[in-house]
């Protein structure tokens, strides 16, 4: 299979590939933008809103400490969320890969 020349443009134009592409692009970049914004809020908040970070919530634990800890939870959450969604993408990609010869076999 690896050696058979495939018509890549035909696969690229296939509606199933187009669907995979648009779903994946929106999902990945959306998640990426969210994670970057969430991360940069931490140093920005520490520099410009230190009073907010100092508010004590639970014993000596303050907002800033909880926000920093939440960064870990959010990062792991993104990883977990992505891995769940990615299995759908995998199934779509596998279906396309199986039919690759059919869609793009003739050249």
């Amino acid at each position: 299979m690896a050696n058979a020349p495939l018509n890549w443009a035909a696969i690229d134009a296939d509606p199933r590939f187009k669907e995979l592409h648009s779903k994946k692009t929106a999902f990945l970049w959306g998640l990426m933008v969210f994670s970057v914004i969430y991360y940069f809020l931490l140093p920005i908040g520490a520099a410009y809103f230190p009073e907010l970070y100092k508010i004590k919530v639970w014993g000596p634990i303050n907002v800033g400490l909880l926000f920093a800890l939440s960064q870990f939870i959010v990062a792991w959450g993104i990883a977990w969320f992505y891995s769940r969604r990615a299995s759908q993408f995998d199934a779509m990609a596998d279906a396309i890969a199986r039919d690759a010869q059919k869609i793009g076999g003739k050249r």
Partner: protein
């Protein structure tokens, strides 16, 4: 980047401090050094056995560069964590938390968030498109010889910067821990690392990373159980003890200076958990954050790890495991750092290493029973050995990345036009490993005592400004082509290097001189005051003796001894400052001829990353390449479906 600077400068000044504080000449006391060597020996024996097994399996180029894609996602996740948790993050972050509290913890976050970029946009496409090196990814739809040449140069540049920082930092750390000579420890690290890479290639390097990461995590969990368990695993209860600790409060008061005078001890303690004790410039921090978030995904030795797994799914799984391990480790570091601040205290930590790097090892010693106990020193020896293994493993990964770029991209790809047998390629890769390894040892020894702090910053900045833009746009932008790749690599690399050369990271003799002169002035005043004190006390002693008051005389004698010790310390501090000025040798400008920094950011990312991206865009638009656009469909379909690569791996 001030934190990293502190890490490495801290290492550099450790040697000077050792003279001032002979009691702490090394972290492991002499009578227990044998323990450290025993633990070191055990770890080296295990890794050498693994290397022996790996060497028997390392026959083809695919074995040497990519462990024949036989590593599982879980194994690779541990190996990535092993590659990433270098001495800077393992010892450095615990140290920063122990000295600066909240800011140190905040600093650790970026190192984990960086992996979201790797997970979402880099790992899987790279696995599907690449083979052994970053150059392979770019060569897919660009002129292979041209892009491989430039990418190899960039890979070697980034790896060398990182390598130098590791070798110098490592040499100083080993010296601080067990007191063996700097040169000896650099050579020992170099020889061990070369043995792993040369004989066992990627298989041995991967397993060394895994072993080291498991040891590191085990040691950390054990320490956290001991330090947190005393407080019944209650988070507010534990942190409550931290803020109540007088050593923590004293450290905060020292950091704050005058503003601390009106604060109650409780306020001082609580201040430890609030931002602003270390980071003063938010723009610099954002710049560092950008370099971490985009640079990690452009580090050759990290990207290379994705070629060692069989499928894109396993690549994804490996990043998720790596994120769990690395993130979990940084959460543990919060306890290690605050625990060291409370149990060991900032004064003792800074006496051994000004940058705080010894916080973790010293906490281990305390938890085992203290400096005079066998168990305490055994625990310290274990942590010290893990630190040593960390340096060796990270350096091995870096050398393999640089050697692969040299042999696979330059020698096979460019010089031989991709016509080399697997045997020839493995031989070339081994020769290149020796060259890079010898280079690492030489640079490590030559750079002794140099300020190499900016080099880690620079490695991340170049990776984020040059490597990441070209890889990302090759994978995701149809119009990207050879012109853009070359422009991006050249502009990104040069911009990052140039901005660091004119930044505050460099040594500015006039500033050093001013700072040292200030020290000399304070110490001179202090010496004058102490001398008059001593005179006063001596008179008081005479009077007391004459008046037959032995008790008062005894008290005065004690005060006299203390004043004399203070006088000696002040004299020493003054002499150190004078030596520092003498060492400048009358120079008035930095390496590039500047009296003061032109560019105020320590990390150039904020400027150099957009420049790198811009260069790829403009270069691609000016160059225009039909082939690159024609190949786009194939690249994009393959990167998303894994067609072709799966078959190649199965064969």
């Amino acid at each position: 980047m001030s934190a990293l600077k502190k890490f490495l400068v801290g290492g550099g000044t450790a040697a000077a401090l050792l003279v001032a504080a002979p009691a702490f000449a090394q972290a492991v006391s002499k009578e227990y050094t044998y323990l450290t060597f025993a633990v070191f020996g055990a770890i080296i024996a295990v890794t050498m056995f693994v290397t022996y097994l790996a060497a028997k399996r390392t026959k083809t180029a695919a074995d040497f560069y990519a462990a024949s894609s036989s590593i599982s996602g879980l194994q690779n996740g541990w190996a990535i964590a092993g590659d990433y948790l270098s001495a800077a993050s393992f010892l450095g972050i615990a140290g920063l938390i122990s000295l600066y509290g909240y800011d140190g913890f905040m600093y650790s976050v970026g190192w984990l968030v960086a992996y979201i970029t790797v997970l979402l946009v880099i790992a899987e496409p790279c696995r599907n498109i690449g083979k052994y090196t970053m150059g392979d990814i770019l060569a897919f739809r660009n002129n292979p010889k041209v892009v491989k040449t430039f990418m190899a140069i960039s890979t070697i540049t980034v790896s060398t910067f990182y390598l130098t920082a590791q070798m110098v930092g490592g040499g100083v750390l080993v010296k601080t821990l067990i007191g063996i000579d700097y040169e000896v420890s650099v050579i020992a690290v170099g020889i061990l690392m070369m043995a792993y890479v040369l004989f066992g290639g990627m298989i041995a390097t991967t397993w060394v990373q895994i072993i080291k990461a498991v040891l590191l995590v085990t040691a950390s969990i054990l320490m956290v159980l001991l330090v947190w368990g005393q407080y019944g695993f209650s988070l507010p209860g534990y942190l409550g003890e931290v803020v109540k600790d007088p050593k923590v409060q004293a450290q905060v008061a020292r950091l704050l200076g005058d503003p601390a005078k009106g604060m109650t001890p409780a306020e001082l303690g609580q201040r430890f958990l609030e931002p602003g004790l270390l980071f003063k410039n938010p723009i610099d921090q954002i710049s560092l954050g950008m370099a971490l978030v985009l640079g990690t995904a452009g580090l050759p030795h990290i990207l290379m790890r994705f070629f060692t797994v069989p499928t894109a799914q396993q690549a994804r799984k490996s990043v998720i495991w790596a994120m769990a391990i690395i993130g979990g480790f940084y959460v543990l570091t919060l306890f290690l750092g605050t625990g060291a601040a409370m149990k060991v205290g900032a004064d003792r930590i800074r006496a051994v290493d000004a940058g705080g790097n010894m916080a973790g090892p010293l906490l281990a010693q305390y938890l085992g029973g203290g400096a005079d106990s066998l168990l305490g020193n055994l625990f310290l020896a274990f942590v010290a050995a893990v630190a040593f293994a960390t340096i060796v493993a990270v350096v091995a990964g870096l050398v393999l990345a640089a050697a692969s770029a040299m042999s696979h991209d330059i020698w096979v790809g460019v010089i031989k036009g991709d016509n080399a047998t697997s045997e020839q390629e493995v031989r070339a890769a081994r020769i290149c490993s020796v060259i890079v390894g010898a280079m690492a040892i030489t640079i490590g020894i030559l750079a002794k005592g140099q300020n190499v702090a900016h080099l880690v910053a620079l490695a991340f900045a170049v990776a984020a400004s040059a490597n990441l833009p070209v890889v990302l746009l090759t994978l995701y932008w149809k119009k990207c082509n050879t012109g853009g790749v070359v422009a991006g690599l050249v502009v990104g690399t040069l911009a990052a290097i140039a901005l660091v050369l004119v930044s505050p990271n460099m040594t500015y003799p006039l500033q050093v001189k001013a700072a040292q002169e200030k020290i000399i002035k304070t110490q001179t005043d202090r010496i004058a005051k102490l001398e008059s004190d001593i005179k006063g006390i001596s008179t008081a002693i005479e009077t007391a003796k004459a008046g037959n008051q032995p008790l008062a005389a005894g008290m005065d004698e004690a005060a006299l001894a203390k004043a004399k010790a203070d006088l000696a310390a002040a004299g020493k501090a003054k002499a150190t400052a004078e030596t520092a000025i003498a060492n400048l040798g009358g120079a008035t400008t930095s390496m590039v001829g500047l009296e003061k920094p032109l560019f105020e950011l320590r990390n150039p990312g904020l400027i150099s990353i957009p420049l790198g991206f811009l260069a790829v865009f403009l270069g691609s638009l000016f160059y225009r390449d039909r082939r690159a656009e024609e190949m786009w469909d194939e690249l994009y379909v393959r990167s998303n479906t894994g067609i072709g690569r799966a078959a190649a791996a199965a064969h």
